[in-house]
């Protein structure tokens, strides 16, 4: 990197100093965090209503009883989530690719995709779930499955694909036009250009945004509970309705965090690495 070459000869000792300074600021950050959250915890725990609050939200007994039930529901969430996410990434890419096609011949299909994306993004996801989960099976068409689980996941795929297609589109538009022109000038067709030049770069550009959508989906799979599917949030609600205690919701939060925090950290790490790589290239 150019930066290294421009560094003055005194760079080595200054680097050592900066390490010391780094250690000191880390210590300060640690102490400050400890004091800040410690004070907060002391205030909260000493409040008069704390025992009632703790009993309502962090009840150990309810936690132990509810844990296996909520976890079994969460396993269903994970299955729905994995199936849906794979389908969304593929379907949304297809939508975005169609939308990126140029030329009058593709006009009708392009319009169809734009209309689909506009329509689906305007419909509340809960309505889409009800419409597909309860509405379609009620038509009693032969050969059409009536499983609420199946249609719930399909509704999520459709809804999220519309949003994700737009994420892909922003990625496609971020690829410099000169890339397309170069590809065409060496004889690639429009679809070949998309497939080999535009989309690989586009996807790389939007991976942090895609990961963001993934975290969001991971929580939204719970919405299929409205169809009677007993996933984690629903199991928590059932226990809460019976016990008048909110601890089961805390369990679902813990479970969701176990997934969403690593994904968020991964997204940050990836974005950072990508930035460094690009800096290295230029």
């Amino acid at each position: 990197m150019d930066l290294d070459r421009s560094r003055p000869p005194s760079a080595v000792p200054s680097l050592k100093r900066s390490t010391e300074r780094g250690a000191r600021s880390a210590l300060i950050a640690f102490l400050s965090t400890l004091v800040f959250f410690g004070a907060f915890a002391v205030v909260v725990v000493n409040s008069e209503a704390w025992p009632a609050f703790r009993n309502q939200f962090f009840n150990g007994e309810v936690f132990v009883d509810a844990w296996p039930i909520v976890v079994s529901g969460f396993w269903l969430d994970i299955q729905m989530f994995v199936v849906a996410e794979i389908a969304i990434l593929a379907f949304a890419l297809l939508l975005a690719a169609i939308r990126a096609l140029r030329g009058p011949a593709f006009f009708p299909i392009r319009m169809l995709v734009i209309a689909f994306i506009d329509l689906i993004r305007g419909i509340p996801i809960i309505l889409l779930i009800l419409l597909l989960g309860f509405g379609l099976p009620a038509l009693r068409l032969t050969g059409v499955p009536n499983s609420p689980l199946f249609w719930g996941v399909v509704a999520l795929i459709i809804s999220y694909s519309a949003y994700t297609a737009e994420v892909y589109r922003s990625g496609i538009e971020s690829v410099h036009p000169s890339q397309v022109m170069s590809a065409r000038s060496i004889g690639l067709t429009q679809t070949q250009t998309l497939r080999h030049v535009v989309i690989p770069q586009a996807v790389r550009n939007v991976i942090p945004a895609l990961l963001n959508g993934l975290v969001s989906l991971q929580k939204d799979v719970a919405l299929v509970y409205i169809l009677g599917v007993r996933e984690a949030v629903r199991e928590a609600q059932i226990i809460t309705a019976r016990s008048f205690n909110y601890t089961p919701y805390v369990i679902t939060a813990v479970l969701f965090l176990l997934i969403s925090v690593p994904v968020a950290r991964f997204a940050d790490w990836y974005a950072e690495r990508d930035r460094e790589r690009r800096a290295g290239q230029s």
């Binding site: 309860f134 609420p148 169809l227 009677g228 007993r230 059932i238 019976r242």
Partner: protein, 283 residues
């Protein structure tokens, strides 16, 4: 001085007696069935009874509580008769359901609209003894797979749903124990949609709700069976009185007399058995 302390003691005693312990037996009163002059009424010579707006079958018929038709209307007139009222001396007023379950004085003698007697409600109002024991019932369309079930074992292979937070859901999970866990819905509208979508074979409600659901909410649905009661304390419906009402005792005596004479069972048979064709599904 002695006299003063005696007075004080009497006053304290009176206060103690007047304080309801929340068990629902109300204040003590000497009542003689058949003699309305012994009753502490809101309006002299009239039994003022409150009910909901609107009222619906099978509890009351044609949204008219005063015609003596429907289970609750019939029970009220039977109780009134026991107490010594002519049918013309029963006056009806309308109230909301929840607005009646608050502490404070009420401008009617009692309220009847399928109030389940609960510990919590009993803290703010008083209840008579139960005039009807709540059972669970299974509801579905006439072509449901649950048709013809005679025991809980017949239901285990079916897909069964219930509303969240209900005793019906507990019944499914603890007594029926179906192979496929109960589907749980937020509202009856969702449960109906699931029935229509053929995602569940049948739904479980408590019987009063089942009557309402089949009569009003889910067109074409029928009560396929009553489920046998479990536990030694079934939930019961009771008349609602203001806290500390002295009338509770008398109404309880009237209810006991009706129960002993078999009148209560007859009225239940007439209005709630739907012609007696609701089979009982045993455990």
């Amino acid at each position: 001085m002695k006299r003063l302390s005696l007075l004080l003691a009497i006053a304290l005693l009176a206060v103690a007696c007047g304080t309801d312990d929340g068990t629902g037996d109300g204040g003590s009163a000497d009542c003689e069935l058949g003699d309305i002059s012994t009753l502490d009424l809101k309006a002299d010579g009239t039994l003022t009874v409150a009910t909901g707006e609107p009222v619906f079958p099978p509890w009351m018929i044609d949204d008219d509580p005063s015609n003596g038709q429907g289970f609750e209307s019939a029970v009220v007139y039977a109780v009134a008769d026991e107490l010594g009222f002519e049918p013309g001396q029963v006056e009806w007023v309308r109230t909301g359901f929840t607005e009646a379950i608050v502490a404070g004085e009420k401008d009617y003698d009692f309220n009847v609209q399928q109030y389940t007697i609960t510990e919590e409600r009993d803290q703010v109002v008083d209840f008579s003894d139960g005039y009807y024991a709540l059972r669970q019932a299974i509801v579905g369309y006439a072509d449901s797979a649950a048709v013809g079930a005679t025991s809980v074992a017949d239901l285990q292979a079916l897909r069964i749903g219930a509303q969240i937070g209900t005793t019906s859901l507990d019944y499914i999970e603890n007594i029926i124990e179906p192979e496929q866990p109960a589907a749980v819905y937020d509202t009856n509208a969702d449960a109906k949609a699931a029935l229509d979508a053929d995602q569940v074979d049948a739904l479980v409600f408590d019987l009063p709700t089942a009557y309402f659901v089949t009569a009003v909410e889910i067109e074409g649905s029928v009560i396929l069976g009553q489920l046998e009661e479990v536990g030694d304390q079934p939930e019961e419906l009771g008349f609602l009185f203001e806290e500390g009402s002295t009338l509770v005792q008398c109404v309880n005596e009237a209810l006991a007399s009706l129960r002993d004479a078999g009148t209560l069972a007859d009225i239940e048979q007439e209005w709630l058995a739907q012609g007696g064709d609701i089979p009982t599904i045993s455990r």
